[in-house]
Assembly symmetry: C2
């Protein structure tokens, strides 16, 4: 997905929010805003928003010296999600369509996103998403591809959401490789977060090497790119991964909630719609 | 009022909104965002937000060549407000406390603000504000000052709101000088807008010379500054005028709705509260 004009002020909003999480020093936050503001003119609109997002969070690390501002937030998200896990697994297992319910549960977890300026309530979100109509629903193609796949490459998005992903990984019934970011960025899931979420018990966890809050193939490590290109089936969670991968040439199934108007427009859906979209399927 | 960190991303949001009203040319809007972004580092935090706001809208004029992007919007706001005028005047005249009702009506008009990212519904807003408790209510001091004043200097804010101001001007029962901006900026009331609103029939209209979406004395013309310093009573409408005048050394009565969180915090009230605040009273 390209950068839209609306993404530019949004970067300043994100810089302020994340700057405040990293430090209480207003002078340093002002410096973050100064430098992100000055950077806007160098952002090519053909870049994906997460590519520029990576630079925003790099500025925050450089100026504040805080490498992982969302560390505690992520730990709390995982803890909260783990407390829901017994409910989630029961919900999936008693369902008539376990796979579809697991997909809905995985999408529910996508609300745990501190890159957005939104509050969330996980239990309420689950009630909504479990019944909500999909705005894009390529479920048949998903089932078909899954039935042919020997294994699945599952690209994670946020910490805490990772616990919800575990339900879907269990429902897939195939060997899964779960992909995390290369460095801590916003509240995106890292190796440590995935392990804390219990993913290590049911899937192999690898790092894409991405330093961005999404998957940008040019910034990923060679091992991941090779796996991505050759995987039988790729599932991509969330907005950041959609932004980075929406124009690739292979089949990818995107599971997300369209949490901002710009991504909703790009997908030709409404804000807050839920999506199961296959490309090149 | 000083500039807060939150005002800086807000300037980018305003640049995008106003850029889109001025032109459909995305490259020009990108240039506006580039230049406003680059400007952030030169904004001293002791400046008032409207002082920097003036520079944002100057950039839009310079880059798009459009001097008055909000011209049609202002004409429509005035037309809509004039259609409500008979209802408003009746409401004021049948009220037990005409002055207070007129103040409430004048504050209702303050919702017509295209500098904000909010939709509004005038009739609904009137229903709310006519009953809403004031968060700051210096009505006694207001009445006292008014009873001693031979005349009143009334600093207007937005076009359309000016029609609501007319009700209060009538209720004041004193000779009024109504102050408009020096140039078209956002949807702020200019000489032409004040005349179209019917203010000319009941008050003298003068320009403060301010090129900002608020009153910054250093940027106003000498005649206005002299009048401001020597007026028996000054009434200031809206956020922009509050931002510019909140630290002056004379008595001023501010009438406004706190439409953004930052101004609400500065006033120590909640967002959407209504205010009748006297300073140095």
């Amino acid at each position: 997905m390209k950068t839209y004009l609306d993404c530019l002020p949004c970067m300043m909003n994100q810089a302020l929010r994340a700057g405040r999480i990293a430090t209480n020093n207003d002078a340093k936050i002002k410096q973050v805003l100064d430098e992100v503001g000055a950077m806007i003119k160098d952002i090519p609109m053909y870049h994906t928003p997460v590519q520029s997002g990576a630079l925003v969070y790099q500025k925050i690390r450089d100026i504040t010296g805080v490498i992982d501002p969302y560390k505690d937030i992520k730990k709390n998200s995982i803890k909260e999600a783990l407390s829901l896990y017994p409910t989630l697994i029961k919900l999936m297992k008693k369902s008539d369509n376990k796979l579809l319910t697991a997909i809905r549960i995985a999408i529910t977890g996508n609300i745990i996103d501190f890159g957005m300026d939104k509050q969330y309530d996980l239990a309420k979100e689950l009630d909504i998403v479990i019944k909500q109509d999909f705005a894009i629903f390529d479920f048949k193609a998903f089932v078909n591809k899954l039935s042919q796949a020997k294994s699945v490459l599952y690209i994670g998005d946020n910490a805490g959401e990772s616990v919800f992903d575990k339900i879907l990984i269990e429902a897939l019934g195939k060997p899964v490789t779960y992909v995390v970011r290369g460095i801590p960025i916003i509240n995106d899931v890292t190796m440590e977060d995935a392990i804390d979420s219990g993913i290590g018990k049911i899937a192999e966890i690898i790092s894409s090497g991405s330093p961005a809050p999404g998957t940008i193939l040019e910034l990923c490590n060679d091992d991941f790119v090779h796996l991505f290109n050759n995987a039988d089936m790729v599932i991509s969670k969330g907005q950041g991964n959609y932004e980075g991968l929406s124009n690739v040439n292979r089949t990818v199934f995107f599971l997300l909630k369209a949490k901002c108007e710009i991504i909703a427009n790009d997908l030709e859906v409404n804000e807050n719609d839920i999506i199961l979209k296959g490309i090149n399927k």
